[in-house]
């Protein structure tokens, strides 16, 4: 405990860094997965392709992905952009499946009713399909946010400071409290963000009920 009290500054600074690094991948994951998820939902051909690709990407262990991206994209191995892109890839991999499932969860008769009253395809997607898919998309976003925040710590292995710093630093200096503080901090901010998303979801989708 004394270690935590003595190092509140450091924990605070790393938490802010951590949130900053996680935010972009989560947001990008959501934005990119909507068109990709739609492709996976809409066409049989693209469905198999998309789901296989995201499945494979998700399979790649994080440390290996950090190593693969630099030569492929011409970026530096020990760089924040490497971390952010890797986390975005995982976020997209998780979210695409959720978005495809979410769109499939919209009942066909609702979709037909929207067609029947004269929605165009584009309008129907934004005003009927996507809002009704919302609860499942939100469930996916929660999984993505929590995973991303947790996974972000691995960035320390490629020299990016965030809450993961407490793990390696604590390990080298043999301070159990430091590592424990890092683990607890990550879990707490992940769960706080998770709750925030639930609250946000209720505000945006009042029709979805408590289950969402």
């Amino acid at each position: 405990m004394t270690w935590v009290v003595d190092n509140l500054d450091l924990i605070g600074r790393l938490t802010v860094e951590h949130l900053r690094q996680s935010a972009l991948p989560i947001l990008l994951g959501l934005l990119l997965s909507i068109p990709l998820g739609w492709l996976a939902f809409r066409f049989r051909l693209t469905r198999g392709l998309m789901l296989t690709v995201v499945g494979l990407l998700y399979t790649i262990p994080s440390l290996a992905l950090f190593a693969l991206l630099p030569p492929l994209l011409g970026i530096s191995f020990l760089s924040e952009i490497n971390l952010v892109i890797a986390l975005t890839i995982y976020a997209v991999a998780i979210m695409t499946r959720f978005v495809a499932d979410a769109l499939a969860s919209v009942e066909p008769h609702v979709r037909q009713a929207a067609d029947a009253v004269g929605y165009g395809a584009w309008r129907r997607f934004w005003q009927v399909d996507l809002p009704l898919a919302g609860p499942v998309v939100l469930a996916g976003l929660r999984v993505t946010a929590v995973s991303t925040i947790s996974l972000c710590t691995v960035g320390i292995l490629i020299g990016i400071d965030n809450l993961g710093y407490l793990f390696t630093n604590g390990y080298q200096r043999q301070i159990v409290a430091e590592i424990l503080a890092g683990v607890v901090a990550v879990v707490v901010i992940a769960l706080v963000i998770d709750r925030l998303l639930v609250v946000l979801g209720r505000a945006l989708m009042p029709w979805a009920g408590k289950g969402a």
Partner: protein, 227 residues
């Protein structure tokens, strides 16, 4: 793309096969950690998950556990347990961490598989006079197998990735090459090891994908394919 050629060369070079950590040994250790951890986790989580799914008791705890577990940073957990157990017990500490990480997805696969069996099928089984354990053994478990294998699949991927990270605490597994490569700035070694890890992970995933298909009961598959 030059780096990829160098990485492939690293994989097949004699130094890699016979260095302080031979590649074959690293692969074997990596696999051994994964298999043992997932097995131990399965022995604990599968019966527990079946019971939760069958009785509905402890469901809240199981759901909460598998949700919250995602928030636990696996790298942090490994380092924490190694420090707590003491550096002389690195293998035990790491294995414990892997098992802890593998339990929630297996638990979720086991209980959700049982829960996903349609109520009317379970109702029918009870109505013709199956005992509670017969309902579980003859109906819920066989019909829930695909989701259970899905849980084992997630757990295995999780452990493969975490064993990689555990290369930071010991000179074992494929992750060690990457950690060491970062220290000595040997990017061919980093990429080479990464490629081997990817192949290993994809192969394991493929194995589970096939198993997931194989355990779908024939009658259920027949219905899915249409008449």
């Amino acid at each position: 793309m030059d780096l990829f050629a160098e990485a492939i060369a690293w994989i097949f070079s004699t130094d890699t096969q016979s260095g302080s950590l031979p590649l074959s040994e690293a692969i074997a250790t990596h696999l051994a950690f994964t298999v043992v951890s997932v097995l131990i986790a399965a022995v604990i989580a599968v019966p527990a998950g079946w019971l939760v799914g069958h009785t509905g008791r402890g469901r809240e705890i199981a759901v909460g556990l598998s949700g919250a577990a995602r928030a636990v940073p696996s790298f942090g957990l490994v380092l924490l347990l190694v420090l707590v157990f003491g550096v002389t017990h690195k293998v035990g500490a790491s294995t414990t961490a892997f098992v802890l990480l593998a339990i929630p997805p297996i638990l979720a696969g086991a209980y959700s598989g049982v829960e996903a069996v349609e109520r009317r099928i379970v109702d029918g089984a009870r109505a013709v006079g199956m005992t509670s354990s017969q309902v579980l053994g003859k109906v819920e478990i066989p019909l829930g197998l695909p989701l259970l294998i899905g849980g084992l699949r997630s757990a295995t991927l999780q452990v493969v990735a975490t064993v990689t990270l555990a290369g930071y605490v010991g000179s074992w597994g494929l992750g060690f090459y990457i950690v060491q490569g970062i220290q000595i700035r040997d990017f061919a070694q980093i990429l080479g090891a990464a490629l081997v890890i990817v192949v290993l992970a994809v192969l394991l995933d493929l194995l589970f994908a096939l198993a997931e298909r194989a355990v779908v009961p024939r009658g259920v598959r027949a219905g899915r394919d249409g008449r």
